[in-house]
């Protein structure tokens, strides 16, 4: 096994792992807040589910990028492993950083915004969509991170 592949795999794994952590923490926070509201007002389940699920996208993005990396490396698809130089391995590692880091941080913060949004949903159910929009604003940066990562990955050609 070459060192290049190792770096590339670490990069892909990092994207899945960090973005997943971000989402888990985010959903954890938003979910707790949502449960708090639900314990007093179970009728709000629908709107609270949306809020609690919003921070979940980062994990999906990370997972998606991870799959793309592994496909590129040939772990998936049956074409057999491709050979990757050390330099290419580092490049793939670098390409996975944007989604990994933005996924982690935006996930946590989206969770906080969603938790605050749960408060809005509890107090002013009419303004619930505004809270969703606020939470979605954080999402932008995870999307940008994913976009950057994919563009970078596509730019790297491996034999």
């Amino acid at each position: 096994m070459e060192v290049g592949v190792i770096w590339a795999v670490v990069g892909g794994a990092l994207a899945v792992f960090l973005a997943g952590c971000g989402s888990a923490i985010g959903i954890g926070l938003a979910g707790q807040a949502a449960n708090g509201v639900l314990s007093e007002d179970p009728k709000k389940f629908g709107s609270l589910l949306i809020l609690a699920a919003l921070p979940g996208t980062q994990g999906i993005y990370g997972f998606l990028f991870g799959i793309m990396v592994f496909m590129k490396l040939g772990f998936i698809g049956g074409a057999g492993l491709v050979s990757v130089t050390v330099g290419q391995g580092w490049l793939i590692f670098g390409a996975s950083l944007p989604i990994a880091v933005t996924g982690l941080i935006s996930g946590i913060h989206q969770g906080k915004v969603s938790a605050a949004g749960a408060g809005v949903a509890a107090k002013q159910p009419g303004d619930f969509m505004k809270a969703v929009i606020m939470s979605a604003l954080v999402e932008t940066y995870a999307v940008l991170g994913l976009l950057t990562s994919i563009l970078l990955l596509n730019g790297i050609t491996v034999a």
Partner: protein
């Protein structure tokens, strides 16, 4: 501002409860009610409803209010991750029960029967247990600070046979405990809350003590430490007219409420306005907690808002039962959280 994510669930729950606080328009309709029965009827679809349903007569309305108070205290205890801090709200009732029992013990023969003792079952220690502790004069079972306070008060009473000493000492010890706990646990919001409480109490104390024609040394005894305002500030204008005291405070955030309160006092011989403005000052401080997503603040603020609400309902009920004019009652209402 603290960002304590342990409180995500708790804050969510509090946010769901906050809409159930009575709002301004609800209070307006309570004030307009024709009589006490109508007030209770208006309250029946609120959180007080279940407690009111058990009520046998209108005059016993305070049981319903106490019921809600207890359930809010229980909620705060359940949700709080810093019981050291939130316990201060329950300790108030322990101090109250201590005062009652020490005084009753001091009265000796004229003991009111156990049932009619004005104890409140909302503290950390149940009234029955507290009764036994005071009866046997053995305070070892109490938490450390409470024990020291109780022993100090009991000793002072034995020496002076002055029941007022019990109140004065326990009040001072209670606030010393609050200040110490909030300082040690480094919770800025609660710490500032206690400081404001101390300041407001001191302001009211100095004006009342002066009105009662007590000397400086008596004020020194009832003065509470731990506030933002220094003791010397209170003593500086002690012998001068009250307006000078208001001038001294004009640079602080209490300036307006003190001068307004003194003005009302001079016109109507009543401290109602000062007390109302002091309560409003606290409520406006609590409103900061609305912008905190994770932390103890919203829980504390919710509890204090409920307490304020209970106070207002009591005021309206007392007013209605005694036929107070609607306008007067309306002018006494506090802000809502």
């Amino acid at each position: 501002m603290s960002d304590d994510t342990r409180y995500a669930y708790a804050v969510g729950r509090i946010r769901a409860l906050e809409p159930r606080l009575l709002d301004k328009s609800r209070f307006d309709s309570l004030v307009e009610a024709r009589n006490a029965e109508e007030v209770l009827k208006t309250l029946s679809d609120t959180v007080y409803g279940p407690f009111l349903a058990e009520l046998k007569e209108t005059r016993g309305f305070e049981e319903a209010l106490n019921g809600e108070l207890k359930s809010v205290l229980r909620l705060v205890s359940d949700l709080s991750q810093d019981t050291e801090l939130t316990d201060i709200f329950r300790l108030r009732y322990d101090f109250h029960n201590l005062k009652v029992l020490l005084k009753i013990k001091g009265l000796g023969s004229q003991l009111p029967s156990s049932k009619s003792r004005p104890l409140i079952d909302a503290g950390l220690i149940g009234p029955v247990k507290m009764e036994n502790i005071v009866e046997e004069d053995d305070y070892r079972e109490l938490p450390r600070e409470l024990r020291m306070a109780a022993e100090k008060a009991a000793k002072a009473f034995r020496e002076t046979h002055d029941a007022q000493r019990i109140d004065v000492i326990l009040d001072r010890e209670m606030y010393a405990l609050f200040s110490q706990r909030t300082r040690e646990n480094g919770h800025p919001f609660l710490r500032e809350y206690v400081q404001i409480c101390v300041d407001l109490t001191n302001i009211r104390s100095v004006l009342r003590v002066r009105e009662l024609k007590k000397d400086k040394s008596f004020f020194g005894e009832v003065f509470l430490e731990g506030g933002k305002l220094d003791k010397s500030l209170f003593l500086k204008s002690y012998e001068e007219p009250m307006n000078n005291f208001a001038l001294l405070l004009s640079a602080t955030s209490y300036g307006a409420l003190v001068s307004e309160g003194i003005k009302y006092r001079q016109e109507h011989r009543s401290w109602s306005e000062l007390e109302r403005l002091a309560d409003n000052h606290l409520i406006s401080f609590l409103k900061r907690a609305k912008y905190i997503v994770f932390g103890l603040e919203p829980i504390v603020a919710y509890f204090l808002a409920r307490e304020n609400e209970i106070k207002m309902i009591r005021m309206i009920m007392v007013g209605k039962l005694n036929g107070l004019a609607v306008d007067l009652l309306r002018s006494r209402l506090r802000d809502v959280y």
